[in-house]
Amino acid sequence: MRYLLLILLNIPVVSLALLNIITQHKMGRTPKKRFNRQLLLWVVILTLLIGSFPLYNLLVNRPPLDSTDLSAFDIVEITVIIFLIYSNNDQRRKTEQTERRLNDLHQELSIQLSNDK
């Protein structure tokens, strides 16, 4: 039940991330290499989420990790981490875009003002 909860809480974020990167790529806003890397990242996260039940079973009370059962705290922690990865990725993309536009604007403005003199 807890594993199902973990998956249900995180599926929306992972789905949104995948939808974003596919849309960006289809609209020509993301180069293929970046698309491939981002796709790999989120597919790995999705696989680990879906495989969390067998993964925990493998690690519970076994060396070297001696993991305990999935707790409520673990669920919250993992959900927050995945959300932060998504948010950080998105913010970084926007920051880079803004920086690029600002640099281009500064360049063009400098050239135009020099032309006007």
Binding site: R34, R37, Q38, L41, N89, R92, R93, E96, E99, R100, N103, H106, Q107, E108, L109, S110, I111, L113, S114
Partner: protein
């Protein structure tokens, strides 16, 4: 048939005391070339009379509103060259470190049409360079190779010649001196033909005083590692 013409970009920051002389001596050398060569000084937000002095020397001047760093100033100059239809462009330092004859040799080489990015290397013949500078530049070239897989004897050289194809395609993200390494990496990613040729470094008391602090190599290294790591997550 469109006549070939070339643009020499000189990024400058607080070089009022030498820029007029640098521009005049460059104009004298370039006047003998078979194609027209225009000189454009990019004043990167200087606090002295760099712009006025550069214009007095006969250069066209583009003045940055904000100080953007060597990478930013170079990007503006090459963008100008691309927009105004130049066949190729070159960059050289504003402090008199570069011999305009070396720039002309590079432009002559690029005008044959086979090379996209030609880097003037001070380390092919490093006589005249101090050991510290040789070691520092060699170290940064090694780091450029380790991080980006691109071989270069002088990855930090400011004398570079660009073909039209390079002007149209080459872009980079860093704005400080680390752009020198990033540019070579981006050129390699784009499949541009990169070559080197030997140049002389002219060290005067002025250029030595204006030159990079060796500790800046730490900042360059940090920025390059960060850029490389970020690329893996993009």
């Amino acid at each position: 048939m469109v006549e070939k013409k070339f643009c020499v970009v000189i990024p400058a920051y607080n070089e009022a005391s030498v820029i007029k002389g640098v521009v005049r001596s460059a104009r004298k050398v370039f006047s003998s070339f078979k194609y027209p060569v225009d000189i454009v000084v990019i004043d990167d937000g200087s606090r002295d009379n760099t712009s006025t002095e550069a214009m007095a020397g006969g250069a066209r001047v583009i003045r940055h509103i904000l100080n953007s760093g060597a990478g930013g100033a170079t990007a503006t100059g090459l963008s100008y060259a691309m927009q105004y239809g130049y066949t190729g462009a070159a960059t050289m330092d504003a402090d008199g470190q570069h011999d305009p004859q070396d720039v002309l040799r590079g432009i002559t080489e690029i005008s044959t049409g086979n090379i996209d990015l030609l880097i003037g290397s001070r380390l092919i013949d490093s006589s005249g360079m101090s050991r510290v500078k040789v070691l520092g530049n060699w170290g940064l070239s090694l780091i450029t190779f380790i991080l980006f897989g691109v071989k270069s004897t002088d990855s930090q050289s400011g004398m570079r010649i660009y073909s039209r194809k390079a002007l149209e395609q080459l872009r980079w993200k860093t704005s400080g001196y680390e752009f020198c390494s990033e540019m070579i990496w981006r050129a390699s990613q784009l499949g541009l033909t990169i070559c080197e040729y030997p140049i002389q470094a002219i060290y005067t008391d002025y250029s030595k005083s204006k030159g990079q602090n060796n500790w800046n190599a730490v900042n360059i290294l940090k920025s390059l590692v960060k850029r490389r790591v970020m690329e893996a997550f993009e």
